[in-house]
């Protein structure tokens, strides 16, 4: 068992134990788990060098799917709603993925952002169905067939969230070692070669995209159950930015990173919101800058640093990459 896996296990135990002592911690821990799952999804794409500034759309859509379903069938079990959320994310990811995996880098990021804004605007606009910006409330339903009160429900959700996190982290770890996962990582460095060994970069990205979308979907459903509320805010681009923030904070090198990042993020946010009212964004901003400057590999990179030195992207390569992404302000000349 590696140090990172041990740390993951410890994190899970703490997540389960701490709320025993301080019951109010249940909410933040479940929310952190939910963000962690989403960040885990986004980090899959980051490993392929693709930054999505729109993945909150899957969480948001999944949350609404769960809410609509719960409204139509109040007897539906909460565990089922979680699955529905995940399925919704996966389904959307498959469809949207067909379109967006053709794009890279900035275009990829911006398309995701634009699509998430479409969803965000629709949810806000068609208010007779969606409740507009105020969103929809979810009534508490049974959990694994048990009718629970608030406290019991929160406990059940906590346990499920932590278990889900562990399982998903392992699944993602396994995926990253697989051909599909490694091919995805290769998308970042050389797509031409990938094509010329007979693998499809778009397909590798599509698989990664669907996995990341399902994770975000599950995260959204988890979040919705915890809050008992879904709002378009869940899909706003700044929320997507926060998910990216968490992935980078935790580091994309190891699945545990996403959860480390989420816990730190949730608590930094909670306390800076309380301590520096009106300046919590600023605090997060400075944290992020510090991170990029001093620990670009994230918390997991810091804790489980590999012995191998990582080469800086050479200047020439960087220029090349840029040229692939964008042909500069060249039109002016021709």
């Amino acid at each position: 068992m590696t140090r990172a896996n041990l740390a993951g296990l410890a994190l899970a135990l703490i997540a389960l134990a701490a709320p025993l002592a301080w019951p109010w911690l249940k909410t933040p821990v479940v929310i952190a788990a939910s963000f962690g799952v989403a960040a885990l999804g986004v980090s899959i794409l980051i490993r392929a060098g693709q930054l999505s500034f729109g993945h909150a759309m899957f969480s948001c859509a999944a949350g609404y799917a769960a809410a609509f379903l719960a409204r139509a069938m109040p007897q539906l079990d909460s565990a089922l709603l979680l699955l529905v959320g995940m399925a919704c994310g996966a389904l959307m990811g498959m469809v949207i993925g067909l379109f967006v995996v053709r794009y890279r880098a900035i275009f990829f990021g911006m398309l995701n952002l634009a699509l998430s804004m479409v969803l965000f605007s629709i949810l806000g606009k068609f208010y007779s169905w969606t409740g507009g910006t105020d969103g929809i409330r979810l009534a508490r339903s049974t959990f694994f067939g048990m009718q629970l009160d608030r406290d019991g429900f929160e406990t059940a959700l906590l346990v499920v969230a932590v278990l889900c996190s562990i399982v998903l982290a392992l699944v993602v770890q396994r995926y990253q070692q697989s051909i599909a996962g490694q091919a995805l990582a290769a998308v970042k460095t050389n797509e031409t070669r990938l094509e010329y060994i007979g693998l499809s970069a778009n397909k590798a990205l599509w698989i990664g995209y669907v996995i990341s979308a399902s994770l975000c979907g599950l995260s959204g459903a988890m979040f919705a159950l915890m809050q008992g509320l879904v709002t378009p805010e869940m899909g706003y681009w700044v929320r997507s930015g926060e998910i990216v923030f968490i992935s980078i904070l935790g580091g994309v090198g190891h699945p545990v990173g996403a959860f480390l990042g989420a816990v730190v993020f949730e608590f930094v946010k909670l306390y800076s919101a309380a301590l520096f009212t009106g300046a919590w964004q600023m605090v997060l901003g400075f944290v992020l800058i510090g991170l990029v400057f001093f620990v670009p590999s994230g918390l997991s990179g810091l804790l489980f640093r590999k012995s191998k030195p990582v080469a800086e992207t050479p200047a020439a390569d960087k220029n090349d990459k840029g040229a692939a992404i964008a042909p500069a302000i060249e039109e002016v000349r021709s």
Binding site: A114, M117, G124, K125, I289, V292, P327, I329
Partner: protein, 301 residues
């Protein structure tokens, strides 16, 4: 839709497009040269607007003629662009040119978060609004409908001046050519004697000034409220990506496209208004994956 409404929609679209163009132009210029997508660009828009309003209020308090307002607007944009642009470039961006693009994007995202709060700390949450210049210039009758001269002439006028000015600058001025060279290859440009550091600073400041100019010019017709910048970022992203990254003509065309589509949506299908920019973007990228305008890429195998 009759002819009168049609013309009105066109006028509305153009005045809106003018602002959008200025802001998006700044973003695309910075991206073209530095390959950095500045997420904090919307904040520059907001700061430009707030600062222009502050100067305007001060001028009104001093009893200066509103005719001077034009000076305040431009001055505000230049000062804010120079100050914030320099601060961002020197303190943040300069240190990360050699890092991965993802990290660069995140740094500007962090700057965005900081600016959002900073702006609220400086100007509070009250809406700001200084419209003396609009009142001073008065209204013009267009087909029986009153339209402010400011929106009818000043906004599109400035946008066109900036457009042709920048085109000329990049094409014909010495500095402009240097900017294009750095945009293509920093290292070789340096070997040719170009001070890439200076060019980057210059470009970033110029881009910031354009963003701030958009805000400053918007301030006479808009209330400045917290969050106004976040809105603008997403919109200018949409313009920049639709246009083709780094494309100046493309940016003009796209801004017009989006501005007009938006105003027609208000007349024909108001529910669609907010969706229009994104739908245009998705539609364009579907058929032209590199945006409306793009240059063939250099081959690399």
């Amino acid at each position: 839709m009759n002819q009168e409404l049609f013309l009105l929609a066109v006028l509305d679209g153009i005045s809106y497009a003018a602002l959008l163009f200025l802001v998006a132009l700044g973003m695309t210029l910075v991206f073209g040269v530095m390959r950095i997508l500045n997420m904090a660009h919307g904040s520059l828009y907001a700061f430009g607007g707030y600062f222009a309003a502050t100067l305007g209020l001060w001028a009104v308090a001093k009893g200066l003629s509103p005719a001077w307002s034009f000076l305040w607007l431009v001055l505000a944009a230049l000062v804010i662009g120079a100050v914030l642009g320099t601060v961002m470039e020197v303190l943040l961006l300069r240190r990360i040119y050699h890092k991965e693009q993802i990290l660069q994007l995140l740094v500007t995202f962090a700057a965005f978060m900081i600016f959002e709060d900073l702006q609220r700390m400086i100007w509070g949450a009250q809406p700001y609004f200084v419209s003396d210049i609009v009142n001073y210039l008065g209204v013009a009758e267009v087909l029986g409908i009153t339209y402010t001269r400011y929106q009818l002439m000043v906004l599109p006028g400035v946008a066109l001046v900036v457009f042709f000015g920048l085109r000329w600058f990049l094409k014909s001025s010495r500095t402009g050519r240097q900017i294009v060279a750095v945009a293509h290859n920093r290292e070789v440009a340096t070997a040719m004697g170009i001070d890439a550091k200076r060019i980057c600073l210059l470009t970033f400041v110029a881009g910031s000034m354009l963003g701030a100019l958009g805000g400053a010019l918007a301030s006479p017709t808009t209330s400045l409220v917290p969050g106004i910048g976040a809105e603008m970022i997403v919109l200018s992203f949409a313009v920049v990506a639709t246009a083709g990254l780094g494309q100046i003509e493309g940016t003009l065309v796209t801004a017009l496209l989006i501005g007009l589509a938006r105003s027609f949506a208000v007349y024909l299908q108001p529910e669609m208004e907010v969706l229009v920019p994104y739908l245009i973007m998705v539609a364009v990228l579907l058929f032209r994956p590199q945006g409306l305008f793009s240059v063939a890429q250099a081959r690399r195998v």
